[in-house]
């Protein structure tokens, strides 16, 4: 099919093309909702049946880091929206600036995620042979994130949880499987989003996006906002529910 | 009185060896439980209703195909394109019929799912690829279930590994056996006889071999069977029977093609083990192989034999050993034998 300027050959008008592309992206996002929905459902059901283990799991996540990441992503959605606005209003010079900011914020998110994952690895919280939910409580010197005065409280909490659920270690592994599964999937989507943003950045620096034709910016924006919304669900599900005071 | 007792005794004996009375309809299994009649009746209702509509629609289609066949190459059909009354009609009427089928089916099913209070409870454990069943007094069976007639029986089902299903076609009942939870099912057998039961949820290699027989007995005979310890058989025959009952024969094929070595000629022979050593297959070795099969693995075989710890009494182990001893004189297969090859020192 031949292309005349911005118009692809299968379309009659630019308007039809834009409407088609937009509908396509929305339907794609619906499929993503179903995709994440499946694993969120599995998590939610297991949260209910292995209540104690999952509460313990949530408590090992860092609220400050998670909260910071949430703010970072919300900010990146703002800068992305600004990029779209710039392309719609013809402010060509601003588009690459906002795209770059979005990419930078995305990388900040990755950085924090790396810190969190590294901490899990260090604390024997990766599902597998070495998994041990009691590792930090039993070896406080090896785990930096436990304050000495909290240690006694943590010990008591874990003991209580084990009494309520003798299989706590196995069930806690389920929590971490879900944690890595969901955040990993989310991070993968962000990596793809970052790739798309780089592509947009390159094209915007060549001045390709105009008020008449800015569909790619628009659609990547939709995708980026969706990835942000997934995090807005993940954060409370993983970090906030059942935290101890 | 004596004559009556004699006659009833004969009738009882005859029933023990026959299958239950066939259902009067062809293509149906025997009706041997309290559910069978209601399930079959429901089935017939649905069958006849569906048959009616199938014949109706087919006849209409064939009639139309004949009556409205094209008579000239350029002929077209009429402009008939719809009729609201027909649409409503053939939506509402099937819906009503469907709801009747649903409701009737739900009633039968609920009856099945809610067990009565006073049941004879049997514990059933399914594992790849056998069934272990335990009577209320602790007596255990493998791949067999003996129960009294006209009593409410409840099975409590557990799995040691994957999902199985306990299915008795003659009773019209089945229930999945799911690892990590107990499922229960109940039924009341109504006819004395022997009936197949099958594993009815695919569970791996020998799914099709994982079945056995339910023997429904008169209450007096059941009581007698329950308190009976072992038969008055000579050890070798008892052992041979056990060898089949415990499903040893499914793996230890005598021609050496099974997943376990042939036991022909094994007794007092030299067995080559996986770690390179060899042992003499004496009574102790046989006993250990039955109770702790993973202790010594024969070279060239996988450690898949399940343990029979807790499933066989010492007496039964002795009977099995006597039987295996009797296999000394049987022909040893060239490949797949339990004993080491003669004297060449080659592995």
């Amino acid at each position: 099919m031949h292309r005349t300027g911005a118009l692809y050959g299968q379309f009659e008008t630019l308007e039809q093309q834009k409407e088609t592309a937009s509908l396509g992206m929305w339907i794609f996002l619906v499929t993503e909702v179903m995709f994440f929905g499946g694993i969120m459902l599995a998590y939610t059901i297991n949260r209910h049946t292995s209540f104690h283990a999952f509460a313990m799991g949530s408590n090992t996540l860092s609220l400050p880091l998670g909260g910071f990441n949430t703010v970072v992503l919300l900010a990146s959605s703002f800068t992305m929206a600004m990029a779209v606005w710039s392309s719609q209003t013809g402010k060509k010079r601003l588009i690459p600036i906002f795209l770059t900011l979005t990419i930078l914020l995305g990388f900040v998110f990755f950085g924090v995620k790396y810190v969190e994952y590294a901490q899990k690895f260090h604390n024997h919280l990766i599902p597998g042979k070495n998994f041990d939910i009691r590792y930090c409580v039993n070896n406080p010197s090896k785990c930096e994130d436990i304050q000495p005065d909290d240690l006694a409280k943590e010990r008591a909490e874990i003991a209580e949880a084990f009494e309520a659920d003798p299989d706590l270690n196995a069930h806690a592994q389920l929590y971490y499987s879900a944690y890595f599964g969901m955040t990993g999937l989310h991070a993968l989507h962000m990596v793809i989003g970052a790739g798309l943003l780089f592509w947009l950045l390159r094209n915007s620096m060549r001045g390709m996006y105009t008020p008449e034709w800015n569909t790619p910016v628009d659609l990547v924006g939709l995708y980026w906002h969706f990835v942000d919304i997934v995090w807005i669900y993940l954060f409370p599900l993983l970090y906030l529910i059942d935290r101890h005071k | 009185m004596a004559v009556a007792a004699e006659i009833s005794g004969r009738v009882r004996r005859r029933k023990e060896h026959t299958r239950a009375v066939q259902s009067p309809l062809p293509f149906f299994p025997e009706q041997a439980s309290s559910f069978a009649g209601s399930v079959d009746t429901l089935f017939l209702f649905v069958l006849l209703t569906c048959l009616f509509f199938a014949v109706l629609v087919s006849a209409l289609a064939m009639f139309a195909a004949f009556k409205f066949r094209r008579t000239s190459p350029a002929q077209v059909g009429s402009t008939l394109e719809g009729n609201l009354i027909l649409e409503v009609g053939w939506t509402v009427i099937p819906l009503m019929i469907a709801l009747v089928m649903f409701a009737w089916g739900a009633v039968v099913y609920v009856n099945f799912r809610i067990a009565p209070k006073d049941t004879l409870d049997i514990y059933v454990v399914g594992k790849q690829w056998m069934w272990k069943l335990q009577q209320p007094n602790g007596k255990r069976e493998i791949n067999e279930l003996h129960i009294p007639v006209n009593r409410d029986i409840k099975l409590i089902l557990g799995s040691e590994d994957v999902i199985h299903d306990f299915y008795v076609p003659a009773f019209r009942v089945k229930m999945d056996v799911v690892p990590g939870r107990y499922n229960t099912m109940w039924f009341r057998p109504t006819r004395v006889g022997k009936y197949h039961f099958f594993c009815s949820q695919y569970c791996g290699t020998n799914h099709a071999a994982m079945g056995g027989e339910v023997t429904v007995m008169d209450p007096a005979e059941y009581a007698a069977w329950l308190s009976d310890e072992s038969g008055n058989m000579n050890p070798v025959s008892a052992g041979a029977q056990l060898f089949t009952q415990l499903a040893c024969v499914t793996c230890h094929l005598s021609d050496g093609t099974g997943r376990a070595p042939s036991l022909n000629g094994v007794y007092s022979g030299r067995v080559l083990l996986a770690d390179g050593t060899s042992v003499t297959a004496d009574d102790a070795y046989i006993r250990e192989s039955i109770l702790q099969p993973k202790a010594k693995i024969v070279a060239g075989y996988q450690p898949v034999m399940p343990t029979f710890q807790g499933l066989v009494t010492e007496e039964q182990i002795m009977n099995l050993t006597a039987y295996i001893k009797s296999l000394q004189s049987q022909p040893v297969p060239a490949k797949g034998a339990g004993i080491a090859p003669a004297a060449t020192g080659k592995k």
Partner: protein
């Protein structure tokens, strides 16, 4: 343009000079094409390939089951045969066949567009299908797969000794092909209809694919994540579905069937769409109750999403849940019944011919009737407690999938073969093949209903001897069925090169796809059509050259624009 067969005096037909098949030559022009028609043929080749593989496994199953104690294959090998038969046929034949071959080819033509909304994504879909297929084939040759196509845990994730991970990965990948195809269809049908092509002027084939696409995009992502979790469980030892680690095997079943039940509607709705084209065409009459049939397609798609746990009536779950799902299962049967009645009613007052596509339509009517009605038995709780997981189920779904979906597929292939290739298939040979197929099919699968009620469980490599006679009947039927499949493969291939030239509209039929040459040019239409007629309206189509009684003529409605 009327054809020689009708008037007997028209000049000899010729193929158009330039069309989509000869517009470009060379392997690259095929492997890098974005033309929906060429992509449809790429799918035709690969789907047929997988059909042969699935058919081979079926042959092994039926041959082995001739005797009660399994003379041909070991238990492990048999278990691999039925598993791989299921996986191949479901994911690589039934789900793609009609949508990717007929749907891809026809939807742009039927709505009056030059191509689908996203031609490059269409090609990507095909490559994803090939990659997914490659992974699954790899699994088949390196250890096989013996978990059943349903992959129940913990058998598949912990206990099976077969190549589960690559197979699951293959199906996971192929799911994305399905999702992208559905997405493409949905968007195309929404935004690319020609002027005058309003929703209720769309052919029912398009409505059926719209409904199918809704199911594809909502359901497939769920099986993707489910199989993804199962693969991770197998490879990394996670425990979501493993009770030994606190997980729940029933959770797997819920997630699996949440897709796999709607998947069966992905398999049957397109075939129903084909039938809705064939019957009006060969009865030369409008489809009776067009709006009801269109609405039924949507209803089936929607209600189909809330019946999944009827596969789980005997797992020990809540009785209340079972009752709810049984009720909904009976509800989902109603729209199918409505369609069946409307198809039958269309025949009344028609002018019916018995060309091969119509024979397949009649075959579909009869066999779908049996298959659909036996679904009622299974949805009925009091009967399912006896026949669940027996050959009754196997017979039921083969009646729908082979008797229904495959009949629709073959009928559609024959019907549109002249459009796709420009040439006709040999009519009498095709009719004989259809008849052989019908006979062979019934002999294969009807005895299985009996086997099921007698109590023979499914997925059994050996069975009690009293079941042998029905198994032998079934195998005999299968050998006849095989002939019924091989014949069309052979003569359709032959006809594509040497068949009689068909012309633009040999039947004639009323769809927009028949108003362009056979085979069509790459851009489908020289000029964008403007639609002013109702679907299947033989009375207002003077261009078809048929004898229309003038006093029933109605003036065509002028176009109102896009919607």
């Amino acid at each position: 343009m009327s054809t020689a067969s009708r008037t007997g005096t028209a000049p000899a037909l010729k193929l158009p000079e330039k069309h989509y098949l000869n517009s470009e030559y060379g392997l690259r022009s095929w492997l890098l094409t974005t033309d929906h028609k060429r992509i449809a043929l790429l799918y035709l080749a690969s789907v047929t390939f997988f059909f042969f593989i699935g058919g081979f496994f079926a042959m092994m199953i039926r041959l082995h089951l001739l005797t009660p104690s399994g003379y041909l294959l070991s238990a492990d090998t048999y278990n691999r045969m039925f598993t791989m038969h299921g996986v191949t046929m479901v994911f690589f034949f039934l789900i793609p066949s009609i949508p990717t071959i007929l749907g891809n080819f026809l939807i742009p033509l039927m709505v009056g567009a030059k191509d689908l909304a996203f031609p490059k994504i269409n090609l990507l879909s095909w490559y994803i299908y090939i990659v997914g297929g490659a992974f699954t084939l790899y699994s088949m040759v390196t250890g096989g797969l013996d978990t059943g196509w349903t992959f129940y845990t913990p058998l598949s994730t912990v206990y099976s000794n077969s190549a589960v991970a690559p197979a699951v990965l293959g199906v996971f990948i192929t799911g994305f092909s399905s999702i992208l195809t559905g997405l493409n269809f949905l968007v195309t049908i929404h935004t690319m209809r020609a002027p005058g092509m309003t929703w209720f002027r769309l052919p029912l084939f398009v409505w059926a694919h719209y409904a199918t696409s809704v199911v594809m995009i909502l359901g497939t992502p769920v099986i993707a994540i489910t199989l993804g979790l199962a693969a991770m469980e197998r490879v990394f030892g996670l425990g979501f579905f493993n009770p030994a680690m606190g997980g729940d095997p029933i959770l797997f079943q819920h997630l699996f069937w949440f897709y796999s039940h709607p998947a069966v509607y992905i398999m049957i709705l397109p075939a129903m769409g084909v039938i809705s084209e064939l019957i009006p065409t060969f009865a030369r009459k409008k489809l009776f109750g067009y709006h009801f049939v269109a609405g039924s397609s949507i209803a089936i798609a929607v209600i189909g999403f809330v019946v999944w746990a009827h596969h789980m009536f005997l797992t020990g779950q809540s009785t209340y849940a079972a009752i709810a799902f049984s009720f909904l299962t009976f509800l989902v049967a109603i729209p199918s019944a409505i369609k069946t009645f409307n198809w039958t009613a269309t025949l009344f007052g028609g002018s019916i011919s018995f060309d091969t596509p119509m024979l397949y339509a009649f075959g579909f009517l009869g066999l779908f009737l049996v298959g659909g009605l036996t679904g009622l038995f299974l949805g009925c709780l009091g009967i399912d407690m006896h026949v669940h997981d027996t050959y009754f189920v196997v017979a039921h779904f083969h009646y729908i999938m082979v008797g229904g979906a495959v009949m629709g597929y073959l009928g559609g292939l024959h019907f549109w073969w002249p459009k796709m290739t420009g040439r006709m298939y040999p009519e009498w040979l095709a009719r004989i093949a259809a008849f052989i197929l019908f006979v062979g099919f019934n002999l294969t699968f009807f005895p299985q209903f009996v086997l099921g009620y007698l109590g023979m469980p499914r997925r059994y490599h050996a069975y009690p001897p009293e079941f042998q006679v029905y198994n032998v009947m079934s195998t005999a039927g299968a050998s006849i069925l095989a002939v019924g499949y091989l014949l069309p493969m052979a003569y359709l291939t032959w006809a594509a090169f040497y068949g009689k030239i068909a012309g633009e509209n040999p039947w004639p039929a009323t769809g927009l796809e028949w108003k362009t040459p056979s085979p069509p040019p790459t851009e489908n239409f020289e000029v964008t059509p403007v639609v002013t007629w109702e679907p299947y309206d033989f009375h207002n189509r003077p261009d078809l050259g048929l004898d229309v009684p003038s006093h029933t003529g109605v003036m065509p409605v002028p176009a109102h624009g896009h919607d």
